[in-house]
């Protein structure tokens, strides 16, 4: 359980995040935490809630709000992913998501920098492990794999070693002195992202890293409902261990997708960001109650 000092800092942290988005003209929204269908995404094990599932992310509903006419929206919410437990993972965690209409992922990278600099100017104590001054590092997945693994991401995928190499060789090198954006992922690793117009083999997806810690995942949204449907079918096919009942095509979402011209959206792990601000080493140290604090 957090001590009083950290509990107050955590409250100030959430308030400052909200203040930043309000000042930028974003609307704070809330969407259903219990969802009847799964987000078609392999590698996420859902937490069932009777005949629904607890959200692994609010993204489908946030995008439907864009289709409904929202321009800039954000949300702070708890998300749930079964079996994820470690220094940087909790089964229940706080996510920040924000979405912009008529924008692409480069706007989101700018938002990330402005948000974290805003937090630095408002929060004290501030133990962030890297400097925020100067241009933040930007590296494509292709460049990073060549540099740290001496192979292309495509070769790593072929050998089924992409995730392994990313975790063991690439991530520890990212954001060591200054925050870093790893961007332009192979298309198959970005099921809801738009292909890059000048290089359609990669998707306009990026991750923000600070001191080797992955903080956020953002992309230019895929807005073609037909392509999205086939991507979802591929993802569902990979989700072999999941309960079948949640694996229905989200038709209302796909229908709404037609109404979005272009948009960009991002999810940021707020517990991780707060951990870095506190100078902490694991999420358990910075959440109000860690799993070990709960009566079992």
């Amino acid at each position: 359980m957090l001590d009083q000092e950290r509990l107050h800092l955590r409250a100030a942290f959430f308030q400052t995040v909200r203040l930043f988005f309000q000042e930028q003209g974003f609307l704070e929204v809330d969407t259903p935490i219990r969802q009847p269908l799964l987000i078609p995404e392999q590698n996420i094990t859902p937490v069932p809630s009777v005949d629904h599932f607890l959200q692994s992310s609010p993204e489908l509903y946030m995008k439907r709000l864009l289709a409904g006419g929202s321009d800039k929206i954000f949300q702070l919410c708890h998300c749930f992913r079964y079996g994820e437990r470690g220094r940087l993972h909790l089964e229940e965690f706080v996510m920040l998501e924000w979405y912009r209409q008529d924008c692409d992922y480069s706007h989101l990278m700018r938002d990330c920098k402005e948000l974290i600099c805003f937090l630095e100017s408002r929060l004290s104590p501030w133990h962030f492990p890297v400097s925020l001054r100067g241009p933040w590092q930007k590296m494509t997945v292709h460049e990073a794999f060549l540099k740290y693994c001496s192979m292309t991401p495509e070769q790593a995928l072929e050998q089924d070693r992409f995730d392994l190499l990313l975790v063991e060789k690439v991530e520890p090198e990212l954001g060591v002195d200054i925050p870093a954006f790893l961007c332009d992922y192979p298309l198959e690793l970005a099921s809801l992202a738009r292909p890059k117009p000048e290089d359609p083999d990669v998707a306009e997806r990026f991750e923000l890293y600070v001191a080797g810690v992955e903080l956020a995942n953002g992309f230019s949204e895929l807005t073609d409902p037909l392509v999205q449907r086939s991507r979802f079918e591929e993802e569902y096919a990979q989700m072999d261990t999941e309960p079948e009942r949640g694996k229905k095509m989200p038709e209302l979402f796909l229908k709404d997708l037609e109404k979005i011209e272009s948009a960009a959206g991002i999810a940021m792990g707020l517990d991780r960001l707060f951990m870095l601000i506190c100078g902490g080493n694991s999420l358990s140290e910075v959440v109000t109650f860690s799993p070990d604090d709960l009566d079992m």
């Binding site: 994820e84 975790v167 991750e207």
Partner: protein, 187 residues
């Protein structure tokens, strides 16, 4: 059987017929990626260390480990003989397997012996043992080296640093986890 999601620090698993204990563990999962279970392990027989990263679908056998209460009897060359205090069965462990533990064994000492596949592989000693000092140089007055300890040898042949007041024939307490001097024991 264990699955990858059971892996954690301190868990004992069997790989290629050998028992391993996990000494470091970290769960990783890159954004949109697979769960990865990163382990550092020590072979419980050879002491060799190695690192390995596993994925969700891996399975591990549980090693057949058993701890038994035993009494140390005697040594014959490099063979150290122990007796099970419940069924009086005797077994021996080699000097090599015991490592530095041989220095702290005393006749009739009770301790825990770890068995793998019915073969003894390790012993857990009492935390403190009392041993008699057999060789101690007198404290050289005017020693300018600045050291406030001196080396002595105890009955088992073990050499350690002790305070200058310890003399030959004293009984001293030693912490078996570190091998360090704790105190002089009055009889």
């Amino acid at each position: 059987m264990f699955s990858a999601s059971d892996l954690r620090k301190g868990l004992k698993i069997q790989i290629d017929g050998q028992p391993y204990i996990i000494t470091h563990f970290e769960f990783s999962k890159p954004g949109k990626g697979q769960s990865l279970y990163r382990c550092k392990m020590r072979n419980m027989i050879t002491g060799n260390q190695f690192s390995q990263t596993y994925r969700s679908n891996e399975k591990f056998e549980k090693p057949a480990l058993e701890e038994r209460k035993m009494q140390y009897l005697y040594n014959q060359g490099d063979e150290y003989h122990f007796m099970d205090t419940e069924n009086y069965e005797q077994t021996f462990i080699t000097k090599e397997q015991l490592g530095d533990n041989v220095y702290f064994l005393q006749d009739n000492m009770e301790l825990d012996v770890l068995f793998f596949d019915e073969k003894p592989i390790d012993v857990t000693l009492p935390i403190f043992v009392n041993l008699v000092v057999t060789v101690a140089e007198p404290w050289a007055k005017g020693d300018t080296s600045g050291n406030d300890t001196k080396p002595v040898t105890v009955e088992t042949g073990y050499v350690l640093q002790v305070p200058p007041f310890v003399v030959e024939g004293d009984k001293i307490q030693i912490d078996t986890r570190t091998g360090d001097y704790v105190t002089r024991v009055k009889e």
